[in-house]
């Protein structure tokens, strides 16, 4: 097999594996038979593998260390979110949506709330809108901290992971104080937020932001991002062109790493993002180094946005008046927000009943997962792990 065939083989294998799935076979078997013809080796990476970020299964055909084909196999964390919510009240969908992308819970809630509020014409008080921005950005910081840790772990550095957890814990302590829960907050309500916050909380938040900006962020950069081994491992690895990224529906830091300055907070402002000043960091090469760097810079931008929110946060109620029984206007409603991973979209169809007729969840990780075969073109095993790590997939969101 020549190098060209190998590169071309990526998409061909995807089709063969997809055929196998259509026939009801295990795609791994089809790939193994195919591989045996060429004296190659097929490995099942996952779902029980230390670095597959949950329960992702990658069927990998290897020629020694070189990757010939990669086929991601999903569905191990399927919880039937979209069907279950068809029999749930609109208010109940909000806390349930936390479970999709469990590291970006607030942004999920905001996405659902925006769709339902548009549908039922619910007024949200300005303080609640600003607080939603604040919490979305705090969530983004916490999620990107974890990305830093797990990406380091994928590359074999263990200490950054523990430092990331140390700092994430502070963020979660803040979240717990504000929302009452550590990961799955259930904080947004239709028409606002569950509860208001005292001044002491905002003071602590400022301390956290100062700590992140002055101590933690420079440490992250110096310990891992500027390390030469890390740079050699990531620069040029898992490269995507802007055209590919757009064609495959990439969004968020993966798309921005390729140089496309597409950020929903800027491109299609929701909540009150149009009132704040912030930059959209972009990369140049679309490799894993750039996507990690984009995330690191986004931490800084998020800190900047939160500081601006704190400056202009108005007083007032945080929960508007909402009728207990929502009367939906029949029709389709779509809302999209920029989650830490990319564009989260909620497509809500109602027929006027008190529960949704259909709810489609657009998960950014699902799109990014399909980029992995592209990112692993002509790579080594270690690069595949780096590529999976840099997409920052959350399987809860992929399988829903």
């Amino acid at each position: 097999m020549t190098a060209d065939q190998r590169t071309a083989g990526t998409s061909g294998a995807t089709l063969a594996a997809a055929d196998a799935v259509d026939r009801g076979d295990d795609p791994a078997r089809a790939m193994a038979e195919d591989a045996a013809e060429h004296h190659l080796m097929t490995i099942n990476m996952g779902p029980q593998h230390p670095s597959t970020h949950g329960v992702l299964r990658l069927i990998v055909t290897l020629d020694g260390e070189a990757i010939v084909k990669v086929v991601p196999d999903i569905g191990f964390l399927h919880r039937n979110f979209e069907k279950i919510v068809e029999s749930w009240s609109f208010a109940g969908i909000v806390p349930f949506s936390d479970r999709n992308d469990y590291l970006g819970a607030i942004t999920n809630e905001v996405a659902v709330c925006l769709a339902v509020e548009r549908m039922a014409e619910i007024e949200v008080p300005p303080r609640a809108i600003h607080l939603r921005v604040l919490f979305s950005e705090l969530q983004r910081i916490i999620s990107h901290i974890l990305f830093y840790g797990t990406f380091g772990l994928d590359l074999g550095a263990f200490s950054p992971f523990m430092y990331a957890f140390r700092d994430r814990e502070m963020g979660y302590a803040l979240m717990e104080k504000a929302t009452g829960a550590r990961m799955l907050y259930g904080y947004n309500r239709l028409g606002g937020l569950r509860n208001d916050l005292p001044d002491s909380w905002f003071r602590e938040l400022e301390r956290f932001l100062d700590y992140m900006e002055r101590q933690a962020w420079p440490e992250y950069m110096a310990l891992l991002i500027e390390n030469q081994i890390y740079r050699e491992r990531t620069i040029g690895v898992g490269r995507l062109t802007p055209e590919e990224a757009i064609a495959w529906g990439a969004s968020g830091p993966i798309l921005r790493a390729t140089g496309v300055a597409w950020d929903l907070r800027r491109a299609a402002p929701y909540l009150s993002y149009d009132q704040f000043e912030f930059d959209v960091p972009t990369g140049k090469n679309g490799d894993t180094y750039d996507s990690a760097m984009v995330r690191m810079l986004e931490i800084k931008e998020s800190i900047r946005i939160i500081r601006q929110v704190l400056r202009i946060l108005p007083d007032g109620p945080v929960l508007g008046r909402v009728r207990p029984n929502i009367r939906p206007r029949p029709g389709d409603y779509y809302s999209r927000v920029e989650s830490p991973r990319g564009e989260v979209g909620v497509h809500l169809t109602t027929d006027g009943g008190s529960w949704p007729y259909r709810l489609k969840w657009r998960a950014p990780s699902f799109c990014h997962l399909q980029l992995i075969p592209l990112m692993a073109r002509g790579a080594k095993v270690a690069d595949l792990i780096a590529a999976v790590g840099s997409t920052d997939v959350i399987m809860g969101e992929v399988d829903r």
Binding site: G92, P95, R166, L193, N195, D196, S200, R207, Y211
Partner: protein, 177 residues
């Protein structure tokens, strides 16, 4: 020439980043660990932490506040609350629950039942050590829920209210390093 410069830059950055990185790890080594050694020392529960909805008991009468209206049952998204209204000897329905069952294995701790309750009968407790090998142990009846209310530090946060965190929790700090 350019290759030589690139090589030199790589070498220089290798050396520099090694020194800086090792400096960071050795510095962290002489800081106090941030681990909370869980069973012996417990992290402070923030005011408003929630883990399980419990039934509030009226301090004066010793009876449940619950009047068995069923609003929480209806508002519960995963339908983990089950209420059966009491029926007295005279055959009339009475304003207290005959059974009030909460299936904690289904509960997603969303606080919606508490917000739905107009009678101040539900609160969110902050007990988390409820794990069990038997799923049946996670189904609580009304006596158990009342007992949990008495033994835990429960809090009711109605929609849009401001949580009073008190000053003591501010010190029990965010920045632990």
């Amino acid at each position: 020439m350019r290759a030589a410069v690139a090589l030199w830059e790589r070498l220089w950055n290798t050396g520099k980043s090694m020194v800086v990185g090792h400096g960071i790890t050795i510095r962290e080594m002489f800081h106090k660990p941030v681990t909370v050694r869980y069973p012996e020392e417990k992290p402070p529960f923030e005011r408003g932490s929630r883990s399980v909805p419990v039934l509030k008991v009226n301090e004066e009468s010793g009876l449940l506040n619950c009047v068995s209206c069923g609003l929480c049952e209806r508002s519960c998204p995963p339908s983990c609350i089950e209420i059966v209204q009491a029926i007295g000897a005279d055959g009339h329905r009475k304003p207290w629950p005959e059974t009030f069952q909460l299936d904690l294995s289904h509960c997603m701790v969303c606080n919606l039942c508490v917000e739905a309750c107009p009678f101040d009968a539900l609160e969110m407790a902050d007990v988390v050590e409820l794990s069990s090998y038997q799923v049946q142990d996670l189904i609580f009846n009304k006596e158990q829920l009342a007992e949990l209310w008495k033994t835990s530090r429960a809090l009711r946060v109605a929609g849009g209210e401001c949580i009073d965190m008190g000053d003591d929790t501010v010190a029990a700090g965010v920045v632990r390093s």
